[in-house]
């Protein structure tokens, strides 16, 4: 629809970014990725399991034409996140200004991003030429600092990873959007299609999700739902919705009623 998402000079036809984790098998994942219509998918970097031989790699199952967005999931310090990104760059076999989803969490329980470490890592990675997309709390000040640090986009959460709580604080997102000069992508928290549509209607540039699709009873159907919901929310945002009013107003003519 001539309304592409542009991040760090790269253009993506879809505003939906999807993950590759938590699927019950690769075949289901592949079908869901295709149904989602996404052209950017997140992947994690992990030690190769030296005992498991010949096990088909993830990459065989990612549809052609989808770009990879390696993440730093599992890192709790800026240093580990930076090391992980360097390995991810190597795995990408070069590529100029490689994309990375920077994610530095505080701990394994709260699963909230550690803003201090995230900002520290972002500065290092930008200096090293990465195209950095940081996952962050919905803190307008932190989001602005990440933008100022040179991040190509900023990805505030809608709610904690995998919580399915939707957009907990649309007010903060609105303030973030009004002060941002880079794309804002809602990352994490979406539970169902209307959550994704609502995020887009707020004016965010994209939505990133994994659990909402992979964890649904029918991941392929949910992937399709999310594709449609992101398109619907984007269109509704641009179409200019009607104002909210306490009292309604008739949608049929007031005059010309019979027997009046």
């Amino acid at each position: 629809m001539g309304d592409a998402l542009v991040v760090g000079g790269r253009t993506f036809a879809s505003r939906l970014v999807v993950g590759t984790g938590k699927y019950k098998d690769f075949a289901t994942m592949k079908a869901a990725l295709e149904a989602s219509g996404a052209d950017l998918v997140t992947v994690a970097v992990r030690r190769l399991d030296l005992s498991a031989q010949g096990d088909k790699s993830l990459l065989h199952w990612i549809p052609k034409g989808m770009d990879l967005l390696p993440n730093t999931a599992g890192c709790y310090t800026a240093d580990d996140a930076v090391r992980t990104c360097r390995l991810a760059r190597e795995l990408q076999i070069g590529g100029d200004k490689p994309l990375v989803k920077l994610e530095v969490l505080s701990d394994a329980k709260m699963l909230f991003p550690d803003g201090e470490e995230t900002l520290k890592a972002a500065k290092v990675l930008v200096a090293e030429g990465f195209t950095v997309l940081p996952y962050t709390n919905d803190d307008p000040v932190l989001c602005k600092k990440l933008e100022d640090a040179g991040c190509a986009a900023v990805m505030p959460l809608g709610a904690p990873i995998g919580s399915g709580l939707g957009i907990r604080n649309p007010y903060n997102l609105t303030i973030i959007l009004q002060n941002a000069k880079v794309p804002i992508i809602v990352d994490a928290g979406v539970g169902t299609a209307s959550d994704a549509a609502q995020a887009m209607e707020l004016g965010v540039d994209g939505v990133l999700m994994n659990t909402a699709i992979a964890g649904a009873d029918d991941p392929v159907a949910m992937a399709t739902a999310m594709k449609l919901a992101v398109q619907a929310g984007r269109l509704a945002f641009k179409a200019g919705r009607i104002p909210r009013k306490l009292y309604g107003s008739a949608s049929s003519p007031l005059g010309g009623v019979i027997g009046a």
Partner: protein, 66 residues
């Protein structure tokens, strides 16, 4: 010589290169990256770079993630 690979201490032949290590580990085809003592070893140098005793090595690949 002994070295640490993905957190485990293993016995490796002397003078092994990174490329040799991967072969030794039976890794082929796989798209992997190697970190030696905290520094990435670029693919181009796999054939030259020799390992040393007590090296700490990380051999990683992409897996599903969100």
């Amino acid at each position: 010589m002994r070295a640490t690979v993905n957190g485990e201490s293993v016995e490796l032949p002397e003078g092994l290169t990174v490329a040799g290590l991967l072969q030794h580990l039976g890794i082929r085809g796989e798209r992997v990256a190697v970190e030696r003592n905290g520094e990435v070893v670029r693919r181009a140098r796999h054939a030259e770079e020799k390992l040393a005793p007590d090296d700490v090595l990380e051999v990683v690949a992409f897996v599903g993630g969100g």
